[in-house]
């Protein structure tokens, strides 16, 4: 019996999405389960596992957390040495606000990394979105209120959280549900 275009379209992406893991799927289930009506169920089982992209995002978060932590420690050192004015910041208040921003961002990076590894909805997906908002707020504050040290690296610190937030709310939305 000739198959309709609709059935072909339904099967095709399933095989493509499985990609490299298709052989192990065939071993576990029959080929009929994979491409037949129950193929959707197999795809659902696949989605309950953590995709490599989420793991990559989590690792990047941990690396950024480590770098950010060094920055926080540096600011703490500056604060206790009373060198805020020399570093271009308008007094201790500005330094404290910057310290608070960096501290919150560091904590968010660490927590969202853990959440992404566990495929968590709140501390994975939502904290990644919150991380972007806090990074944006920090950049706006630095540009407008403080020393106006607006450079491309400050843009980079907003761009990557934005990309991560877009990814977790689109491509990985159905994976971060626990």
């Amino acid at each position: 019996m000739p198959s309709t275009g609709r059935r072909k379209k339904a099967k095709f992406p399933i095989l493509e999405i499985f990609g490299e893991n298709v052989e192990s799927k065939v071993r576990r289930a029959s080929i009929r389960n994979l491409v037949g009506k129950r193929g959707v169920a197999v795809m659902g089982a696949e989605r309950s596992q953590r995709p490599g992209g989420v793991t990559t995002l989590a690792i990047i978060n941990f690396v950024e957390f480590a770098i950010s932590l060094l920055g926080v420690l540096g600011l703490v050192f500056v604060y206790f040495r009373g060198a805020a004015v020399q570093s271009g910041l308008s007094g201790n208040t500005g330094l404290l606000i910057l310290l608070a921003f960096n501290g919150v961002i560091s904590v968010l990076m660490f927590l969202s990394g853990i959440g992404l590894l566990g495929c968590r909805k709140i501390i994975g997906r939502h904290l990644t979105s919150l991380l972007f908002l806090v990074s944006l707020a920090k950049s706006v504050w630095v540009v407008n209120a403080e020393s106006k040290q607006f450079d491309l690296m400050l843009v980079a610190l907003v761009v990557w959280p934005l990309i991560a937030a877009v990814l977790v709310n689109t491509v990985f939305k159905d994976d971060l549900v626990r």
Binding site: K11, L15, E20, G52, G53, T55, D151, L152, A156, I163
Partner: protein, 315 residues
Amino acid sequence: MSNPQGVTRTDGIMTGVRFRDLKIIGSTWMRFAFRSGGGVASLFLVMIVGLFIATICISSIETLGEGMGGRGVEQAELVQKISESSFVSNTLTFVLSGTDDEKAAQGDYLVHDRPAMLSLALLFLIYLVPFGVCAAAFNQTAGDIGSRGLRFILSRTERPNIFLGRFLSAFIFVAMAFAILITIVTGYLHFKLGIYPIGDLVLWCFWGILGFVIYALPYVALASWVSCCMRTPFSALAMTLLAAVGSTMVLLIVGLILSAALSEQTWLPKLMPWGWKSELFSGDMTTRLTAYGAMIGFTGLFLLVGLMTFRKRDL
């Protein structure tokens, strides 16, 4: 066309190519690239390393510009002083290729006729293209060939659809990543410094994106070819880097040796796409179109060889 036995031959190199299949395979590969982590990692590489390179390039001129701007220099004069700074001229001498006269003419175009800071950023960032493309496009078919996963797709479509669908998808991914990067740099130059007219910046940004996209084309095709020859993603990455960057290094070293022994060999680097990168931003439209044509030629060659390899490949 019929052979002597009277059997109709329909197995041309592009037989069975269907737009619908290309679309499905392409869109699904891009989603799979993100889900498997390769796409995320390459996007991170392009964005963060790209912005870091642009920061290094721009900040030195920025400091110079801010210093002069702070002393009440007019905007036009500031642009002129930046264009004539020794940092800019030294950088152009290092980055541009060709004879001294060609370098002087192209440098003059890039610095005086176009926004100099964006030109410099583009010339630096273009070094990132081969690495960014290798990171993004290395695993087009290698992983699926190794796991025999492609066998299940072959029953539903022809081989060229798989090869070309994934090539197009990888190309769109790379093009979008570099377009975003250049747009960010252009936006930064406008909002932070504001010394160039917005029209000039946008126009040069467009030409920059076009140059990057066309320069990325042959490298994506090369990655497609290498990927279909390999069985594991890691070997595909290593061999793609070797083919894209290693071969260029060999050509440059041979060129240096020949230049020392005979005369300057300006044609030798042009055997690979790397040798054409500065011509992509040339002020002479004929030179620029020739460079575009060369990139498309390289792409066609790599795609043809890759497609022939993939058609005969044991999957």
